[in-house]
């Protein structure tokens, strides 16, 4: 385990009495690719801006490499940021943009020139030194923004939805570039996004946030396969989230049918949320399923079909490589280990309850 580089302790922040972050605790390890993931307004960008120094927390401390940097201005921190809208300096050439931080640190001319060459090579834009910012596409501008940040050799690179403004193909290419960059540079990346696919593809650790609280911290596999609550399950990929009753250990009743499952310790006859991923629902011949239903819609998604099946009063979302036409009568089956059982939140507020990390 590498050491903790950044430690956020009891961070609280509100705007105009609106609580954005409430007693947030989070640590980030050296050389980690950590993603803050959540819907807009969940506090992920605020968290990043507090690390960058652009926002001051109302309470709590930011510890960086063992030192308290809560009160330091952005220009006094060893972190650099890549902004969502690139934020390149429009009045400077590409080379001048990249040299900006180095000139402030009074590096020698030859050092700066070497760094510019190196950084442009790293982001696959060799020879762009003299180009103007306007003449670059969005993807190229974002790569320059990354080059401008990394020439300063920060210990941490903060990325605020850096791919949000790019089209799908470019976004996927850039995701691989970012992973490659992270491996080549060996620095810590803190990445903010609302795109769960992006988070799953790139991260070592994902922090799922909602309404200012951390919902779950874990590896992409953990978060996807073992969501801790219905919010995380719903946000990370699509899910069938159904009201159920835990009859006893390893047996849950859903929509009037008893399903064997692998969860224990919920007690007897407790109302729970049952989460089943659409790709884990098997469509079989009617007599082979535990439940029967009719296909109500069919959409081709490339790799798979997305099928809605009405069964026992619930519209099941199913992803399968097998085609079933609309109106077909089918059976539904779910393997016990593919059923996730979660405690029901006691009130609507508790969807956002803090989970101890």
């Amino acid at each position: 385990m590498s050491k903790r580089l950044i430690d956020l302790q009891h961070i609280t922040k509100s705007y105009d009495k609106q609580m954005v972050l409430d007693d947030l605790n989070l640590y980030i390890r050296e050389n980690e690719f950590l993603t803050l993931l959540g819907p807009s307004g969940c506090g992920k960008t605020t968290t990043l801006r507090i690390i960058g120094g652009f926002e001051m927390p109302d309470a709590g401390n930011v510890i960086f490499d063992g030192k308290d940097i809560t009160g330091l201005a952005p220009n006094e921190r060893q972190v650099n940021t890549v902004f969502q809208k690139y934020a390149l300096f429009p009045h400077m050439s590409i080379a001048e943009n990249i040299a900006f931080g180095l000139k402030i640190r009074k590096k020698s001319k030859s050092y700066i020139n070497d760094k510019i060459k190196y950084a442009l090579k790293l982001v696959n834009l060799d020879g762009f030194e003299k180009r103007s910012v306007d003449s670059l596409s969005g993807g190229q501008q974002q790569r320059i923004a990354i080059a401008r940040a990394i020439v300063n050799e920060p210990k941490v690179l903060l990325l605020d939805e850096p791919l949000g403004a790019l089209d799908l193909k470019l976004r996927q290419d850039m995701q691989y570039e970012l992973i490659r960059l992270k491996n080549e540079l060996g620095i810590t990346f803190i990445y903010v996004t609302h795109d769960q696919e992006e988070a799953l593809t790139m991260s070592d650790t994902i922090v799922v946030m909602n309404q200012g609280y951390i919902q779950q911290i874990g590896t992409p596999e953990d978060i996807y396969n073992e969501p801790t609550n219905a919010f995380v399950a719903d946000f990370i990929g699509e899910s069938n989230i159904i009201d159920g009753t835990m009859l006893e250990d390893r047996l849950v009743e859903v929509l009037g049918v008893k399903f064997p499952c692998v969860d224990e310790g919920f007690g007897k006859n407790r109302p729970v949320d049952v989460v089943i991923r659409p790709e884990d629902v098997e469509l079989v011949a009617p007599e082979q399923g535990v439940m029967e239903g009719d296909v109500t819609s069919l959409i081709f998604k490339g790799v798979h079909w997305e099928i809605d099946v009405m069964a026992n009063g619930y519209e099941w979302m199913v992803q399968t490589t097998q085609m079933h036409p609309v109106g077909a009568h089918v059976g539904i089956r779910v393997a016990p280990f593919n059923i996730q059982i979660m405690n029901k939140p006691e009130s609507s507020d508790e969807r956002a309850v803090e989970i101890d990390a």
Binding site: F54, A73, N75, N80, A87, H91
Partner: protein, 273 residues
């Protein structure tokens, strides 16, 4: 068919251009280069070297420059303050600055004549507190003061516009890369507002250089600007030829100053013309 429609739409504009721009300039050129009896001469233009005219031209340049510098000095910090204000309040402040422009230009000058006169409101108030009165009316200071008052919005608005177009992200990026407040100002904010500064300078310097109404009313005949000389040539001496010749010289100064400013402002974005 579409082309014809387009040409028809351009009609009024063409008539305007020919009738109110090209024709008058042509007439000025004609009058400037002829004598009263219609013979060719360059005397009207070279008469700028007459000491009275030169003195007026230099005083005009001096006062216009002073006015421009004062406007710039006042406007830049103000634009920064406006830009840092929240939405509702800065709208009100901008409105207040534009409000005087809704009043007639002459009325504003006359108002200042009343305010600044020896028995005017300002001196009465000063006298009430036992302070010495101001004796600025009929001096170049009064003229510059009123010019600043009249032309200030033309400096504030382009600078404020340029400043409000700077993305907050860009400022934050500069800080993020290690820039302190001074570096952010000189390396980012100032270069990105240069186009506004250039527009503002042109929009203040040119009318200040050519104005005659302000010096007429607040100068009391003691402050003779080149605009006043030209006005007198046309309106009092009925010497349209001399007036046109001097106008032509002034036009050259205006064009040269605009060209200078524009070539300077190019890196910061488009100038005004």
């Amino acid at each position: 068919m579409r082309n014809l429609k387009r040409q028809l739409l351009a009609g009024p504009y063409l008539i305007w251009m020919v009738g109110f721009v090209l024709l008058p300039v042509g007439m000025i050129l004609y009058y400037a280069l002829t004598t009263t009896s219609g013979q060719f001469t360059t005397f009207n233009i070279t008469s700028i070297t007459a000491s009275v005219h030169l003195k007026a031209l230099f005083l005009s340049l001096k006062l216009a420059l002073a006015c421009t510098l004062i406007c710039l000095g006042l406007s830049y910090p103000l634009a920064m303050i406006l830009n840092n204000m929240n939405g509702k309040r800065h709208g009100l402040i901008v409105f207040i600055f534009i409000l005087p422009m809704w009043m007639n230009f002459m009325l504003r000058i006359l108002a200042w004549k009343m305010l600044l006169s020896n028995n005017g409101v300002i001196n009465t108030v000063l006298g009430y507190f036992g302070l010495p009165g101001l004796d600025v009316l009929n001096t170049p200071s009064a003229v510059v003061f009123c010019m600043v008052y009249d032309f200030l919005p033309f400096m504030i608005l382009p600078i404020y516009n340029a400043m409000s177009r700077i993305e907050k992200d860009v400022i934050e990026a500069a800080k993020d890369l290690g820039a302190g407040s001074l570096t952010v100002f000189f390396k980012v904010i100032l270069p990105l507002t240069m186009s506004g500064v250039v527009s503002g300078i042109i929009m203040v310097f040119v009318p200040a250089l050519t104005s005659f109404a302000i010096s007429d009313l607040l100068g009391g005949g003691k402050v003779l600007l080149i605009g006043n000389v030209i006005e007198q040539a046309f309106m009092q001496e009925y010497n349209w030829n001399l007036g046109s010749g001097l106008s032509l010289v002034l036009m050259v100064f205006v064009i040269v100053s605009m060209a200078l400013m524009n070539s300077h402002g190019e890196e910061g974005g488009a100038g005004i013309c």
